[in-house]
Symmetry: C2
């Protein structure tokens, strides 16, 4: 049976630890949410920082909340190449051995020795949605999208559990390669 | 039977008409080839120009030769968005109704009223190669690539005839979405 899911296109962004948030924005600083994201408890923030690589700087990059145990910078491969960083394709949170970068905020700078990734494409599903789609957490599936640049993404990770809500996460390179705009859908293939 | 072809990743570039070449570089100017491309008779040039859009400028973009009847600017969708131009996905040479852009060279500027495209992905094949692959000019095929970001590109145009040599042309968004480096191969699926 066909299972379709909405596609969320992630622009370059970062998650900050509380310590790095304070180093960049000031002691005791708290994030200012501006918009809830589709994944429960996740939100976009007012705060922006500059990401400084060896070749270039990405200015005014959006912080997503809430704060996390570790700072994580998620770039499309095009962005990573622009600033001269060879970021690996990784699942969120798997930061061991990843390259670092310098972050610049209004109150200070942070020199990270790791934390930059290109996100492994994935689909979020609640337990009930995963059951309906016939998949489980950590499965690898394919996602088909239609259009002038229609394609089938292989190696899409299923992330399912409480706190997940049906959404395919792709980055801007993937969205552009598939010619996707907002309000696009993908079909899950097993 | 499986047919594999090398992948050529196109970075943003442009082709110039003789009139625009002279407007940008000076009267009577001729291109200076630096490197032959895989497609017979095509070459990269010393010459670079700036591409100025409503939002940003792409500096030092490579000119490819030889000169053509019409100037054509080929951007990845990421590049087009960066400079604020809604470039359509088009086959090379089909420029009717495409947006324009300003070009800036060392000897002058050209304000184009059309010519900016995102290239429709395609595979070049000589007549003998097309026969071996079991396809013909203007067929639409799929191309499968392997790896962490393995995927199947649908809607790949076959361009076959004299003056074509086996090579899959993708842009940087497509290459990055598929995690491709140099010396990658794709498998033709019919």
């Amino acid at each position: 049976m066909s299972y379709k899911a909405p596609i969320g296109l992630s622009n370059k962004h970062l998650h900050l630890s509380q310590a790095d948030l304070e180093a960049l924005f000031g002691k005791g600083y708290e994030l200012h949410p501006t918009k809830d994201l589709k994944q429960p408890g996740q939100f976009a923030c007012e705060e922006k920082v500059d990401i400084v690589g060896p070749k270039n700087t990405l200015k005014g990059i959006r912080v997503l909340g809430p704060v996390r145990p570790e700072t994580q910078i998620e770039l499309a491969m095009t962005d990573a190449r622009t600033i001269g960083i060879a970021a690996p394709i990784r699942e969120s949170g798997k930061l061991e051995g990843t390259p670092g970068v310098k972050l610049v905020g209004p109150a200070g700078e942070v020199e990270l020795d790791h934390g930059v990734i290109v996100a492994l494409r994935h689909i979020h599903l609640s337990p009930a949605q995963a059951e309906e789609a016939g998949v489980k957490d950590k499965d690898i599936v394919s996602i088909k999208v239609e259009g002038d640049r229609g394609l089938i993404f292989d190696n899409v990770l299923v992330r399912s559990g409480n706190g997940h809500e049906c959404e395919i996460h792709l980055d801007t390179d993937e969205g552009n390669a598939a010619g996707l705009g907002n309000n696009s859908f993908g079909e899950l293939l097993k």
